[in-house]
Symmetry: C2
Subunit: 337 residues, 2 copies
DNA sequence: CTGTTAGCGCATTCAC
DNA sequence: GTGAATGCGCTAACAG
């Protein structure tokens, strides 16, 4: 490995000078600078980030902790976060805690071992809480990316659930749907919020909310949703003409359940998903509420880097609106008549 | 931050002793050890990995460079690699080069800056070559995970393409298919290999290979496949009864194209995919050739860590067999008659 | 404008 | 069994 010392010797200057030209930390004579640059180039010198980190105290690495990677949304988030980070010269360290509390606990030491400059998390409530408390205690800068607002006083970047739900319901109404069901995970804080805005929007639109049209699932994936909807359909025929699933996977589970009961999609049941993760791959291509992933990722990185720079940086909270993406899973009842 | 010095002072011993009990690097009196351990615990001391890295020369970080993250297969690989790494005490740094040569080149400096102990890559030929050459030059331990065997002399872990294709073709034949088409990316080395085994298996099975039944695409995604298959169908009706797509996304593109031409799936056209990425989410659920992702990831990590430990570790090549996953996209022609 | 030096936190050799 | 001292590669304060 070629070190700064090697370069200094070869160039006939001191290591301080080499450091100066590398970091532009103080004026260097043009001739000297060129000489050093030339030697650096010739010897293929790269500054050792580990040594630099030890000296300067930062590692230029951000940990991103996600609850899953099987769900494509998180892969999409990871992608955006990594892109934003690399533009700023930071590396992304990835940690997947599977939304499991036990795993999270055992990973806490990784977080604490001061080998990261900051942390971005997209998490469930219980695991998120664990991480947030740890970071607070150890004074590790962090930002919550797309998490229900549990920690009002912390920096977080979320999407505006109201805009998405409003658009979804409005769209369904515009297509002639008046009986709308909702499918959500039983104990998800974020999805409860969607549920809240759902009811609110129905009321605003003069539509009744039927408690019978709320289907809850035990988990976040399509299997849980399939089970829930299948159970639902065993008892009764659906009176609703449309269903909004609180993520694309739930909606997929619903699609399968409806198919099992020979209900035509979208002719008999229209569907809307959330997240725009697998929506485009489904059949029919799923109309879904898209998340502003790029904006969310970019902003969270921006805030985090600010917090790293200024430890007293004021907690900042940002919301970005969601956008309904119209595809083929909603039938136009008006046209049909 | 609490340092080893703080611990030493508090415990009334030297830092050398503290270091000894942490690393078990030399005998320590039981009483001293307990005392030190107690203080470490009380003060919440964690050894600073950056300082450790500077001293010892390793960073306990592995870079995993993938060509995409939009394609779910890579997310699945990332997941497995991260799990394997963390078990061994290594962190995963993620880099996504989008399979772009320009991006790869600009990322090369990240690779070279000696802040990683090793590298795992899942790459296309052109980008892979760039990275391999860099690593060889800089003597960075690396292993190729699931890459067509370009570098015969390097460590790599691949899956056995023959087993998968054999199973796929055999299965199709068992369901009464004799006219089988193949859909692949035009210039993908790995897919050319699949094509090779495809022809080989057809010949073995006494089936003709019709050059007309090879459809090639310009890209790896469903859009490229949709375009290619649509163009194909514009000219002629498909004579084949089944098509194998060289990845699930290509196959999805084909499905859409067939649908456009009102061909029923699987009744009129049966389909098989590759990778088991989005296969299970499609409709009909796609029969596909699954990759042994977990085994691949685990083995590649194992080899890499060996290479890191022993610089002269002999290049090792491993193959794991693929497994056909039967779902609903292949019709049984025999039964139909 | 440039060189000398201290020290980031740790592991390790050499003494005792 | 234990401590003092050295240095990993680098940046920044201090001198000139």
């Amino acid at each position: 490995m070629v070190t700064i010392k090697d370069v200094a010797e070869e160039a006939g200057v001191s290591i301080a000078t080499v450091s100066s030209v590398i970091n532009d930390s103080r004026p260097v004579a043009q001739a000297t600078r060129e000489k050093v640059l030339k030697v650096i180039n010739e010897m293929g010198y790269k500054t050792n980030p580990v040594a630099r980190a030890l000296k300067v105290g930062n590692t230029k690495r951000i940990l991103y902790i996600v609850p899953s990677i099987k769900n494509l949304v998180f892969a999409q988030f990871i992608n955006q976060v990594q892109h934003s980070l690399i533009k700023k010269g930071y590396d992304l360290i990835l940690l997947n805690n599977e939304a499991r509390v036990d795993l999270t606990k055992s990973y806490l030491s990784i977080i604490h071992s001061s080998n990261i400059d900051g942390l971005i998390m997209t998490q469930t409530r219980s695991c998120g809480k664990l991480i947030v408390e740890s970071c607070q205690q150890k004074k590790i800068p962090f930002v919550i990316l797309f998490e229900p607002d549990i920690f009002k006083e912390e920096s977080m970047v979320t999407s505006d659930e109201k805009t998405g739900m409003d658009q979804a319901v409005e769209y369904l109404i515009s297509q002639g749907h008046h009986k709308i069901a909702l499918l959500k995970v039983a104990d998800s804080r974020n999805q409860n919020k969607r549920f809240h805005f759902f009811k609110e929007k129905l009321a605003e639109s003069g539509l009744e909310f039927n408690n019978d049209w709320l289907i809850t699932t035990a988990g976040h994936d399509e299997k849980a949703a399939y089970t829930a909807v299948t159970n639902y359909l065993q008892d009764k025929k659906p009176e609703f003409t449309a269903l909004i699933g609180c993520n694309d996977f739930l909606t997929l589970g619903a699609i399968r359940a409806f198919r099992k009961y020979k209900l035509k999609i979208p002719a008999e049941i229209s569907l809307i998903g959330y997240d725009d993760s697998i929506a485009e791959y489904l059949y029919p291509a799923l109309t879904t509420v898209g998340l502003p992933k790029k904006k969310l990722a970019k902003k969270s990185v921006e805030i985090l880097l600010n917090k790293i720079k200024q430890p007293d940086y004021q907690a900042e909270q940002n919301k970005f609106s969601q956008q309904l993406i119209i595809r083929d899973s909603v039938a136009n009842l008006k046209k049909a008549k």
